[in-house]
């Protein structure tokens, strides 16, 4: 990790937390209303979390790619030689 990539890696970490934490806060979504197309909130909300998490990880992918690129520019020995 170099000084130019630290902030980006922090962003990656935050994006991953934003994806992973909401499904674990069970008490926030165990309710029936509002329903959507006949689905109780409990069910459709968890379905909605799937694409939401996928968007977060996709964003994290692009940020991480840039951070990884900077790391390798700053320290060519990082992956290359042993």
């Amino acid at each position: 990790m170099s000084s130019r990539s630290t902030a980006l890696w922090v962003v990656v970490g935050i994006l991953l937390l934003v994806a992973a934490v909401p499904p674990l806060l069970v008490s926030t979504y165990t309710k029936v209303d509002p329903t959507l197309w006949g689905f109780p909130f409990y069910y459709w909300f968890q379905f909605a979390l799937v694409p939401f998490a996928a968007i977060c990880t996709t964003a994290a992918y692009f940020v991480a790619r840039e951070a990884y690129r900077r790391d390798r520019e700053d320290g060519p020995q990082i992956g290359g030689r042993r």
Binding site: W37, G38, T57, R82
Partner: protein, 539 residues
């Protein structure tokens, strides 16, 4: 037995059999006489193939049978499969690229190889390998249970009392699977996964659109289920109060929130500790394949959620079966035209073959690398390793078959429950090791051992209304009355023991061994020295 359904089923089964044997020639670079080729398919899979392979690997036929079955049986906790498969991918994103890099650079084939190299400890590697093998075996057995359920609904199980004759179709299917896994290695399930996932997607999409429409719409389905559960709870109020029956509900009550969240988190942490998941990941061709897949694999999670709800659809459609696991195949039998029911059966059976093949390969790799080569024959050549692994893959599968045919099914399910508890206990050694060498090898071994014992005892002591032991995966967290997934509690104990023991061992200056990996190994990518492509990416 319906002739049309059986004809379609047989056609698709023969198709994947041909593919399984032909896979030996697919993307082939040299002979299949080493583990990189046989056990990891040349480490050359790109994003597209990896998506099918890993998806085919972790969303198994048993999942497709068991998850809707829990909802059918009135336990909304089964829907934890959805948050579970959401939480997995951020975790995958975070640590698997490092495991990929260090494994490629050092030629590691199994997670236990990594642990052994990182901590300079064959003993710790052995603990990880043995845990992986014993956790995987019942998982393979359950794939057979999934196939058996479908064959039963199709009417293919004869009424003979002889255990061999009774399950002859299952036996035949499994011998064929064993044969092409033996000859083609990981290439066979990778190629078959295309067929499996395509069929599963078609079947589920048709099922969740067509059947609810037939039954009267989702709103109606939830109403019927809600009323049905309400009247069940009213009729059995005494039994429920006496804890002789579980109340039914469409969502977990406040007492079940921690159980639900801990099942999701614990299972997500555990999934990529299973050797077969790691096998799929190590077979990818560069570092970003796995991160791209973390964005793409959730498509399966969505599918799994829809499938889970078919358990409710089966209730609303009036499916009545004694064994809840038959509810989904029976729903297909009742609602679909015969030819499409055949497609659906084939999808589930093929869905069992793919993970069963990958699991047996992963278990064989573990045996070969971390027991055979580490302890029995350190001089084994790559060719000898491949021969050994191929033989062991047969032994593993035959073992699983005998297990399912001769022992009780609930025994396999109990063991799989325990397998989830056990496999999570390898997390500290594997994942912490990817970031830091701070933990002492003997501290990790101690933490593992304590957690294995705690988890096993706790699972044994958990009763349910129908059985005295292994009645569920949730037990009260120590010193509280809050139900938490046993695997997660054991994991916390594991970490605490490992931290305390590390501090003590370091203070006593006990030898920590030589780290065989270097910091650069954890971020190496394709093209760096020691991480050559084994295959032209276009072939």
């Amino acid at each position: 037995m319906n002739g049309v359904a059986f004809g379609v089923f047989l056609f698709l089964f023969l198709l994947v059999t041909v593919l399984g044997f032909a896979a030996a020639r697919w993307r082939r670079v040299s002979k299949l006489d080493n583990l990189d080729e046989w056990g990891l398919a040349g480490r050359g899979f790109g994003t597209f193939i990896a998506w099918f392979l890993i998806g085919g690997d972790i969303y198994t036929a048993y999942t497709f049978i068991a998850v809707p079955a829990t909802l059918y049986a009135g336990s909304a906790t089964g829907f934890f499969a959805v948050p579970y498969t959401i939480v997995i991918y951020p975790l995958v994103f975070a640590f698997l690229p490092r495991l990929w890099s260090v494994s490629h650079r050092n030629g590691y084939v199994t997670p236990a190889d990594f642990v052994q190299g990182r901590y300079d400890s064959k003993g710790l590697g052995l603990a990880v390998a043995v845990t992986g093998i014993v956790a995987t075996m019942p998982y393979i057995a359950l794939q057979l249970v999934g196939m058996q359920v479908v064959l039963q609904v199709m009417g293919l199980q004869s009424s003979s009392n002889n255990w061999f004759m009774k399950d002859l179709p299952l036996f035949v299917a499994f011998v064929i699977l064993a044969a092409y896994t033996y000859s083609s290695g990981l290439r066979a399930p990778a190629l078959i996964a295309f067929v499996k996932d395509t069929l599963i997607y078609i079947v589920i999409i048709v099922a969740v659109i067509y059947i609810p429409h037939q039954v009267g719409g989702w709103g109606h389905i939830f109403d019927v289920v809600q009323k049905g559960f309400g009247s069940f709870n009213a009729t059995n109020a005494d039994a429920i109060a006496a804890k002789q029956a579980n109340p039914k509900a469409i969502m977990p009550g406040p007492a079940g929130h921690w159980a639900y969240a801990s099942l999701a988190l614990g299972s997500a942490l555990a999934l990529f500790m299973y050797p077969h998941s790691v096998t799929g990941v190590l077979a990818t061709r560069n570092r970003s394949v796995i991160r791209r897949n973390a964005s793409l694999l959730p498509a399966y999670s969505f599918l799994l959620g829809l499938l889970a709800l078919l358990g409710f659809v089966a209730i609303a459609a009036g499916v009545k079966v004694d064994n809840p696991q038959q509810s989904i195949p029976q729903l297909f039998e009742n609602e679909f035209p015969a030819w499409f029911a055949g497609v659906a059966y084939a999808a589930i059976v093929i869905g069992a073959l793919v993970p069963a093949a990958i699991m047996s390969i992963a278990a064989a790799n573990l045996w070969t690398r971390n027991i055979y080569k580490a302890f029995l024959k350190p001089t084994a050549t790559p060719a000898e390793e491949a021969t050994m692994a191929k033989l062991v893959s047969l032994v593993v599968k035959i073992g699983a078959l005998v297990f399912v045919l001769t022992l009780s099914k609930s025994f396999a399910i109990n063991l799989q429950l325990l397998g989830g508890v056990w496999i999570l206990q390898t997390f500290p050694a594997i994942v912490a090791g990817l970031y830091t060498r701070w933990f002492h090898r003997w501290a990790l071994l101690l933490g593992w051992a304590v957690a294995m014992v705690y988890g096993t005892v706790q699972a044994y002591r958990t009763p349910s209304p129908v059985q005295k032991h292994f009645g569920g995966s949730v037990a009260n967290f120590p010193f509280t009355h809050t139900g938490v997934y046993i695997a997660l509690t054991a994991f916390l104990i594991n970490v605490i023991v490992a931290v305390v023991a590390t501090v003590v061992l370091r203070a006593l200056k006990v030898a920590a061994g030589v780290d065989h990996t270097r910091p650069g190994d954890y971020v190496a990518d394709l093209g760096d020295s020691g991480v050559e492509a084994q295959l032209d990416p276009l072939t």
